[in-house]
Symmetry: C2
Subunit: 188 residues, 2 copies
DNA sequence: TGATTAATGTATCAAAATGATATATGGAGA
DNA sequence: TCTCCATATATCATTTTGATACATTAATCA
């Protein structure tokens, strides 16, 4: 059941279609998951231990047989797959968003408008570079969308593109307002 | 300097334009901040203690003088205001997004498509009701946008509206794809 | 009036996550 | 050979979460 630990579910999900080490898991999180999830070694390794203890995954220590160093590769078990499916079917999902950018903007009244403009501009730059990456993901995906698995990746990519484009529209608007170039008023 | 504690900054920001109790702060976080920030009592009360100890805020115990119960009202100090301004001017902002909805979708290949459609639909409903609230915020704001402070609130509201509308467009698209009504393929 | 429920208010706790750091090996290039 | 970087596991202090405990005041309503 694994109480509240989200990292457990990330690990089960990832292990469901390939065997991975803790380090590999971190790379996946910082790679394709990074647009909607994050996590650090400090929660990965404890989660691996606890998952193994409850039999949801098992490890296959790759002996330093001949080449490469010793590492611990994990596999999902039948019990683990069952757990994963149960979680996917749960109706409640908690989406936790914490935008420090927006927080600064909300309190922006204390400072000069230039400060807030700089905050927005920094955000805008980050979004622009992320968006570029997402667009190349999408282009590469479109050619292999026959495989069912790719559809799910495609959906998370289009989510990112759709929302990042919305961010950029807002950034442009916000900068206009903050620099006094746009008078905000009700049309009515 | 307050190391890494974000709650400290939320508290300083809120106290900057009104005196509040810990309970009030929770209400603000769950109210106007809730679209881009969150926090619980478990971090509010410890933060209040540490902020007071470092002289960035001070408390005015409202004696149960005659009416109402005893409560601890906090005020920001000059040092606290200086700290707040320093944070606002920092160039790095960390926006931490964790969408359990997207995580489930990413791993959706294990389950039937109906499971993923349900996940999207649940998300869609939540977004729709939040969006309705944000729109009434915007309508009410438009009439008082002459005051500088309101502009900053307005910006966080339009951010929410812009992104929530993007979410809804994506939801419609995702449901089509998952129910097989739309063939995803590259135009080229 | 009395009784019950809801809102206010402060506080703590176990569990989880963060962000940083420690430690060590293997491979690539200069 | 030396240096640098990617790989790999692990831990730690600090923060955050989500829940719960506890007590008081206000509101509802029978």
């Amino acid at each position: 059941m694994a109480s509240d630990n989200k990292m457990n579910l990330v690990i089960l999900g990832l292990l469901d279609h390939e065997d991975l080490t803790g380090y590999d898991i971190k790379k996946r999180i910082d790679g394709s998951l990074r647009y909607f999830w994050k996590g650090s070694f400090g929660s990965i390794y404890p989660a691996l231990s606890s998952l193994e203890e409850s039999g949801l995954i098992r490890n296959v220590k790759s002996k330093s047989s001949e080449s490469g160093r010793e590492k611990i590769v994990y596999k999902i078990t039948a019990a683990g797959r069952k757990n994963l499916l149960a979680w996917l079917s749960e109706s409640k999902s908690s989406n936790s968003l914490k935008y420090e950018t927006l927080l600064k903007l909300y309190f922006g009244g204390v400072a000069d408008n230039e400060v807030s403009i700089a905050t927005v501009t920094e955000f805008e730059k980050e979004v622009e570079s992320d968006l570029a990456v997402l667009r190349t993901y999408k282009d590469n995906l479109s050619t292999v969308l026959d495989e069912r698995d790719h559809v799910f990746f495609y959906l998370t990519v289009t989510f990112g593109i759709e929302t990042y484009e919305a961010y950029l529209r807002w950034c442009a608007d916000a900068k206009k307002i903050l620099s006094g170039k746009k008078i905000v008023r009700n049309k009515r």
